[in-house]
């Protein structure tokens, strides 16, 4: 008779009944996590590529009538190496340029005095690149012409592509969160109408709406938390699986190689919390609206 009592939960536990709902939410979270992981991978790859492109500048040196191509290239290289932000300079031999022209000119040997442009590759400090236009200004007075190719076009294209991927992923995540919220609103309404007796009894013993809302909100927050953990774990396993199954499959889906490490595991608590918050909030809105619809 004096044994300590623990008050029972006011909303009955319904282990089995929540299962389909849990599954739907977990699948939505799974898909949302996959698109986040995918977008992160694509972004990582893109910034790797554009980093490479940005850290390399190619000079095409076009010798004039009177200048010797090799000399002009050496001179251009020496000038460029004096510029702050240029880490190293590699003057390519004439044969390197000829190799590039071969697809157009075939194997025919070019005359010795044919003005083949020479290539000079500059390695740029990406943290501290030369001011834009500085390279062009350097060669303004030279007796040969220099075309500076800093790969900006490519870098821009990659940046645009990765931005597109990112926006697409954000859009997908927003859509899936909205779908999860809609499912929860639907489920919370059903739960309230199934549990009208409880809401009614609580009202009549003087429970304010917020007391009843909190019961449902807590229930659905826990449900969202569970499905968030389940869905993000599935996404993590799928990513790991794809990563191990072979780089090719991973690359196909823009999934990161996971070389960066286990940092990606943070997606589980983050997804769980966001999913719980969405679910709790959606239930709160649904139940609140459901209760307000009646006076008593």
């Amino acid at each position: 008779m004096n044994k300590p009592r623990r008050p029972a939960p006011l909303l009955p536990e319904e282990a089995g009944r929540d299962l389909p709902l849990l599954a739907v939410c977990a699948i939505l979270i799974f898909l949302a996590c996959l698109s986040v992981i995918g977008a992160a991978g694509a972004w990582q790859a893109a910034s790797g590529w554009s980093g490479q492109l940005v850290s390399e500048v190619t000079l095409q040196v076009l010798p004039g009538e009177e200048t010797n191509g090799d000399e002009a290239a050496r001179e251009a290289g020496a000038l460029a190496s004096g510029l702050p932000g240029v880490v190293s300079v590699e003057v390519r031999a004439r044969s390197a340029s000829e190799a590039l022209l071969r697809p157009w000119l075939g194997n025919a040997r070019l005359p010795e005095d044919f003005p083949v442009p020479r290539l000079v590759t500059l390695e740029i400090d990406p943290e501290n690149p030369p001011a834009s236009g500085a390279l062009d200004a350097l060669f303004a007075d030279a007796p040969y012409r220099v075309i500076v190719d800093d790969n900006r076009l490519w870098a821009g294209a990659i940046a645009r592509a990765s931005a597109t991927v990112r926006y697409f992923a954000i859009g997908l995540v927003v859509l899936m969160c909205a779908a999860a919220a809609a499912v929860i609103v639907f489920a919370a309404r059903a739960a309230l109408s199934m549990r009208r007796d409880i809401a009614y009894a609580l009202h009549l013993v003087g429970a304010p709406d917020r007391f009843i809302i909190a019961l449902f909100q807590e229930r659905f927050f826990m449900l969202g938390l569970k499905s968030g953990v389940a869905g993000s774990l599935m996404a993590l396993l799928a990513t790991l699986g794809l990563g191990y199954a072979g780089g090719s499959a991973g690359a196909l889906f823009f999934l990161p190689s996971l070389a960066p490490g286990w940092g990606i595991v943070v997606i589980v608590p983050i997804a769980a919390f966001i999913s719980g918050a969405i679910s709790g909030l959606a239930a709160r809105l649904a139940v609140s609206a459901g209760l307000q619809a009646r006076w008593s």
Partner: protein, 240 residues
């Protein structure tokens, strides 16, 4: 034997505002006919009254107006001097906590034990099990449910459910107690025992209104009787 506190003593002490006041109240469900018409009466604070009348006369509907489950379609219902028709939703819980209700159909929550059902009003008011645990055990012993504390309502007999519902209604010592046919499912002996609980509560200051058509029960207490017939009220002097 059972003598509720008398009306005259009370009105002197409690002043002007009655616990409940009806002025020309009419009520209909949806677009149906009026089930209550031109109802006017008062429950002075601390009074003890019966509400009687044949089945379908409107007893439950009248009580629903008092415990704020319905609003009148015309006329004025006031609780502790406040007009219920202009009460905001947010104001209702505070009023409901001052009213204990024994529903005709009990309305116990089937997934909660008898103990937890009876504790409901205290839990809603924010009390912890440490505060109310012993009181509830004592109260359940008093209504003869000491041995069914952990039972679920569906496993109780009608009379046992009724006693659990009564315990829930009185556990928070409400200012008004509304009981809708509270002895309909128990034998006469238990009926008188439960009635004594209401009288006891009334002695401590609670305003009591009991709907019943059990004449012998009504006769066992010397108290005013409100008689409903086809939605209209005839005031009868005393029950005895």
């Amino acid at each position: 034997m059972d003598q509720p506190s008398s009306d005259s003593a009370l009105s002197a002490e409690a002043g002007a505002t009655p616990a409940v006041r009806f002025d020309n109240v009419g009520m209909r469900y949806g677009r149906g006919p009026e089930v209550l018409s031109d109802i006017s009466f008062e429950l002075p604070r601390g009074s003890f009254q019966f509400l009687t009348g044949p089945s379908g006369a409107g007893k439950t509907s009248l009580l629903r107006l008092i415990y704020l489950a319905e609003r009148p379609s015309r006329g004025l219902v006031s609780l502790f001097g406040e007009d219920t028709s202009v009460m905001e939703r947010d104001a209702l819980p505070a009023f409901r906590r001052r009213i204990g209700v024994v529903f005709q159909d009990f309305r116990l929550l089937s997934h909660l034990s008898v103990f937890d059902n009876v504790a409901l009003p205290l839990r809603v008011a924010g009390q912890g099990v440490r505060q109310y645990g012993e009181d509830i055990v004592e109260l359940l012993n008093w209504v003869g449910l000491g041995h069914r504390i952990d039972a679920l309502p569906p496993t109780l007999s009608g009379g046992e459910q009724q006693r659990a519902a009564i315990a829930r209604a009185v556990v928070s010592r409400p200012e008004i107690l509304i009981a809708d046919e509270p002895t309909g499912n128990v034998d006469p002996e238990m009926g008188r025992r439960l009635l004594r609980l209401f009288v006891e509560l009334n002695r401590l200051g609670t305003t009591v209104l009991i709907a019943s058509h059990d004449i012998s029960l009504i006769r066992s207490v010397n108290a005013p009787v409100l008689e409903l017939a086809e939605g209209r009220l005839n005031r009868r002097a005393r029950s005895v």
